[in-house]
C-alpha cells in the first residue's frame, strides 16, 4: 500500500476552550472525509487544568485557586486523569483518524501501544530512554513523562496527550485537590519521584526540536508522510459550534 499522507497542524498556543473544540472539530472533519488524517501539536494559553470525561470537577480541582491563578478548567472528551497544562511547560499533541484506518487496532489498549509507540520513538530521538507503560503512560528511567487519552466516536479515533517539558509540582498540586492538606508535601515528594520532564532529563526542551522528533516518531510507526497544513474554514466553523455547545459551557464542564 502506498504511504499515506497526513496533515501536520502546528496551531501554537490557544485557550483551553479553543484547543479542545479544535480537537473535536478536526476529528469530525476527518471522519466526514473533509479533512485528511491529522497530527496536531499545540500549547495552552492561559494555563489550564483538563479533567477526564468521567471525573468530578469539584472532586478533582480547586476551582477557587484556579480562578485566583487565572487557570482555566475544562472537561475533555476523553477519559483519564486531570492534567495541568502549564503555559510554556508542556506540549500537547492530538491525532485524529477514521476508526477503520488500516493498521490501527480495534482494541483500545492495542491502539495505545501503537500510537504511544510513535512518542517512544520520538523521545528516543531526543536521547531519552523512553518506554510505553500500559495503559496510557510513557516513562523515562521509570518516571512518567507523558500521559495519553483516547476516545472513539463519530466513527473516528482521537488520541491526545501531554509531553512534559518542565514541571512545577507545587503549582500543580495547589490547583488539584489532594486527599488531605496534611499529606500535600508528602504527596508532592512522592510525585517528584514518579514524574520527570524533558528538561530534567536532557537539560533542554526546545519546542521545535521536540515536535520534530515526535513527528518523525509517528511517521515511522505509522509509515506515513506528514505535510504541514492549515485549519480549514469548515473546522473553524465547527470549532465555534462545539465550543459553545460543549467546552465553554458550564453544563458540559460541570456535568460530573
Amino acid at each position: 500500500m502506498a504511504q499515506q499522507e497526513w496533515r501536520l497542524l502546528l496551531t501554537g498556543d490557544m485557550s483551553a476552550f479553543d484547543n479542545m473544540a479544535l480537537d473535536e472539530a478536526v476529528l469530525r472533519c476527518v471522519v466526514a472525509g473533509a479533512s485528511p488524517s491529522t497530527l496536531r501539536f499545540y500549547g495552552w494559553k492561559p494555563s489550564a487544568v483538563s479533567i477526564g470525561y468521567f471525573q468530578g470537577i469539584e472532586q478533582e480541582v480547586d476551582l477557587d485557586v484556579c480562578r485566583e491563578q487565572g487557570v482555566d478548567v475544562i472537561r475533555r472528551l476523553t477519559g483519564g486523569g486531570a492534567v495541568f497544562h502549564e503555559h510554556g511547560s508542556e506540549i500537547t499533541y492530538s491525532l485524529a483518524v477514521k476508526d477503520d484506518y488500516p493498521g490501527i487496532p480495534k482494541k483500545v489498549l492495542d491502539s495505545y501501544t501503537l500510537l504511544c509507540g510513535g512518542l517512544v520513538v520520538g523521545f528516543r530521538r531526543l536521547g531519552l530512554d523512553a518506554a510505553f507503560k500500559p495503559i496510557n503512560d510513557i516513562l523515562v528511567n521509570g518516571k512518567k513523562i507523558s500521559g495519553n487519552a483516547q476516545t472513539r466516536r463519530f466513527g473516528g479515533i482521537l488520541q491526545h496527550g501531554t509531553l512534559l517539558c518542565d514541571v512545577n509540582l507545587q503549582l500543580m498540586f495547589s490547583l488539584l485537590k489532594v486527599p488531605s492538606e496534611k499529606i500535600r508535601d508528602k504527596l508532592i515528594a512522592g510525585v517528584e519521584e514518579r514524574v520527570t520532564s524533558i528538561r530534567r532529563e536532557i537539560g533542554m526542551a526546545d519546542n521545535d526540536v521536540v515536535i520534530q522528533a515526535m513527528v518523525a516518531g509517528f511517521a515511522e510507526v505509522l509509515d506515513i508522510r506528514l505535510s504541514p497544513g492549515t485549519v480549514s474554514d469548515e473546522e473553524l466553523a465547527l470549532l465555534e459550534r462545539v465550543k459553545e455547545e460543549r467546552y465553554a459551557n458550564p453544563t458540559w464542564n460541570f456535568k460530573r
Binding site: 477526564g52 470525561y53 468530578g56 477519559g79 483500545v108 496510557n136 483516547q150 476516545t151 472513539r152 460530573r256
Partner: protein, 103 residues
C-alpha cells in the same frame, strides 16, 4: 426508619477504590432508608476509560434500584460489561469493590 412517606430519607455514601491497573474509581450514592435499602442515586467518577463514554450513564442507571449486596451488584455490573462497551483500566470486580466501599 422511614418517617415521612414520599419524602426521601436519603443517606449519602462515598467510596474510593484504586484498581490494580492504577485507575481510581469514586462512588457517590444515596440509599433508600428502609429495611431493605436499595441504591437511590449513583454517580461513578474517576480516571478510567470507557468507550463509548456515555455508557457510564447506562451503568449508573442499571445500578439504580439495586440492593446493597455483592451478588446483586456484581450481576448488574456483569450485565453492563457484557454489552457493547470497552472499559479500560478497571474490570467488573473493581467496580463491584468500589460500590461495596460506598455501601
Amino acid at each position: 426508619m422511614p418517617i415521612q412517606p414520599g419524602i426521601s430519607n436519603a443517606d449519602v455514601r462515598f467510596g474510593d477504590y484504586k484498581a490494580i491497573g492504577g485507575k481510581l474509581l469514586r462512588v457517590r450514592m444515596t440509599v433508600t432508608a428502609d429495611n431493605s435499602p436499595v441504591i437511590q442515586t449513583l454517580r461513578i467518577t474517576g480516571d478510567f476509560f470507557m468507550h463509548p463514554e456515555e455508557a457510564i450513564e447506562d451503568l449508573e442507571q442499571l445500578l439504580t434500584g439495586a440492593p446493597l449486596d455483592e451478588t446483586a451488584l456484581r450481576e448488574r455490573v456483569q450485565t453492563f460489561f457484557a454489552g457493547d462497551v470497552q472499559v479500560v483500566g478497571a474490570d467488573v470486580s473493581d467496580f463491584v469493590t468500589a460500590l461495596l466501599k460506598a455501601v
